[in-house]
Symmetry: C2
Subunit: 140 residues, 2 copies
DNA sequence: CAGTATTATGATACGGATTATCAGTAACAA
DNA sequence: TTGTTACTGATAATCCGTATCATAATACTG
């Protein structure tokens, strides 16, 4: 099984495992996500799936984000994009020109959060971090 | 001069220094921002400034963000809020219940970014980090 | 299988937030 | 003051995402 097939498998079985029905539109969305090289917008998917209704595309994306199979990330202006969650908790670098996403894990962030937790008022319930880059394809 | 007066002074002089005209609507927006205890939305400002057009409120916010006098930050769902940039580069904790924002600076983040810069493909051009909390007022 | 309950779909309408348009107005320099 | 230019604000338009709801597809049950 190739990596790509594995990814689609993961998306579909993620839905299956949660008790959602395996419908053709959902399979189509999973396949379309599989073909996205990098971070994509919901609108990207809608355009590549004219046969699937916008509402269904958005609903399926939300399902996959809620189950953790997709990451929702924010461009510098706040516009959302999505990318496959290949590993557990991680962060992203996003090329602001082409949208290429790379994952990174850095225990420094988690250490920093633990140390921050002692200093601040209240309980940390989540965080968000994105690193924006010009990738070497865009700015050689 | 009080701290509050200083903040308004900073907002207005920031615009003045950039060569923008000092109009009454802009002064009104600056004053309204001054009176915001915590992070606020564009809509908050519009409501507190019924005499100023929505477009002008949004335009002035954008000017102040572009000049660095305001920080644009994102709630967990991506909705934008704004807060005064009291110090140079910093990050925020945001209470997800009441919206209260606190600033923090942590050299760990900057160290992490420098180390990350050596590992990744491309040039880092920016980053985003928000820490979401339940503050002690909301969850005692 | 066939029947049935339930879930999902998709066309559309709707909503909120931000931006574009553009004629009228105000700021500021000369 | 006057003229140029930037700014304003009412409104329309846009964009993204969600609610509605009748219809269709799915999975379950006997």
């Amino acid at each position: 099984m190739t990596t790509t097939e594995q990814m689609r498998h993961d998306l579909i079985t993620t839905l299956e495992d949660r008790g959602f029905r395996l419908t053709k539109p959902r399979r189509d969305v999973a396949t379309a996500i599989e073909t996205q090289a990098d971070a994509f917008t919901a609108e990207d998917l809608c355009e590549s799936l004219p046969a699937v209704g916008r509402a269904t595309v958005y609903r399926t994306i939300k399902l996959l984000v809620d189950t953790g199979a997709l990451c929702k990330l924010a461009m510098p202006d706040g516009a959302p994009k999505y990318s496959l969650a290949r590993v557990g908790h991680h962060h992203h670098t996003v090329c602001v020109r082409c949208g290429k996403v790379s994952d990174f894990r850095d225990t420094t962030v988690e250490r920093m959060l633990r140390s921050l937790a002692k200093e601040i008022d209240g309980q940390i319930v989540g965080h968000r971090m994105e690193v924006y880059v010009d990738c070497s394809d865009c700015v050689p």
